[in-house]
Amino acid sequence: MAHEEVNSCVILKDLHYSVKNNTWVRVVDDSTVVVGMTDIAQSLAGALLHAKTKSVGTARRLGKPIATVESGKYVGPVKSPVAGEITKVNEALVGDAGLINRSPYNDGWIVEMKCENLAADLAELLTGDDAVAAYKEKIETDGIECTHLDGSDTYA
C-alpha cells in the first residue's frame, strides 16, 4: 500500500483524511466506510489507556464524536469525518486501546459506518498526494514528530 512518511508520521495514500480532525476513512463499498485515528493523532495523544466508542446504531452528524480516547496526558473526542450510522465498533479496543497507537490504520480502526451520502462526504476529505501535502504542511507548521510504540505496524 502506497504511503509517505513526514517526520516519521505515516500517511497512507489510499485513505481519505479529515486533516483538521486527524481522522481517516477507508471506503468499503459505496455506502460503507471504516473510520480511525491517524498516526499523527495517536502520536499527539500518547499511549492510550482507554477508548470508548459510541454504540452500534448511533447516528452521527459530521464532526460529532464517534469515540473518546484518553492517555495519561490527553483526553478528547474522535470526531466523525462522515455523516452516517455506526454499524460496527472495534471491540478489541475495550481491552487494548493501545491498538490505536500500534496499528492506527489497521487493527486499531474505531468504527464502521453506513453513510447516506458518502460521495458528498468524501468530496470534503483529502486523499492521495493532496492529503500528503496538507499533512506535510500541518506537521511542519505544528512541529509534529510521530512516535511509535514497540510492536507498531510497519509499512512496506
Binding site: K52, T58, P65, P77
Partner: protein, 128 residues
C-alpha cells in the same frame, strides 16, 4: 450507564485550588475535557484560590508534567478549545487584587447568585 445516554447532560466543576498547588490544578481540567469529549455540557467555575490561575502570565509558570511542554496555560487553552466554559467568581477577583483586564482571554465573570442559580440546573457538581 451507557455512554450514549450522556449526551445533553450537564456538569459543573468547581475549582478552588490555584497556582500555589500545581498538582491540584490538573485533574479538574482533565475531567472537564473528558466530559466535553463525551458531549456533556461542562462549565468550570473558579473561585477562592482557583481564581489566581486565570491572571494573565500566571498559568504559564505552572509546569504540570515533568519533561513535558504541557503547562497549566496549555491545559486551560485545551479546555476552552474543547468547548469547556470557564467562569470566574466576581467576588474572588478581589482576593487576588485582580481586575477584569487581568484575566486571560475566554473567561467570563459571574456573580455568586448566578452560580447558585446555575448549579441547580446542572445534573452534577464536582467540587475540588
Amino acid at each position: 450507564m451507557d455512554m450514549d445516554d450522556l449526551e445533553g447532560k450537564k456538569i459543573l466543576v468547581i475549582q478552588t485550588h490555584g497556582v500555589e498547588t500545581p498538582t491540584r490544578t490538573y485533574s479538574p481540567l482533565f475531567y472537564a475535557m473528558a466530559a466535553a469529549a463525551m458531549e456533556i455540557e461542562v462549565m468550570v467555575w473558579f473561585t477562592m484560590n482557583g481564581t489566581n490561575q486565570l491572571k494573565k502570565g500566571e498559568a504559564e509558570k505552572v509546569q504540570l508534567v515533568k519533561d513535558s511542554n504541557v503547562n497549566l496555560k496549555t491545559m486551560l487553552e485545551m479546555a476552552m478549545d474543547s468547548e469547556v466554559e470557564l467562569r470566574v467568581c466576581q467576588q474572588s477577583l478581589e482576593l487576588w487584587d485582580m481586575k477584569v483586564e487581568d484575566l486571560i482571554d475566554g473567561v467570563e465573570i459571574m456573580g455568586a447568585t448566578s452560580i447558585i442559580e446555575l448549579s441547580l440546573t446542572y445534573d452534577h457538581v464536582m467540587y475540588f
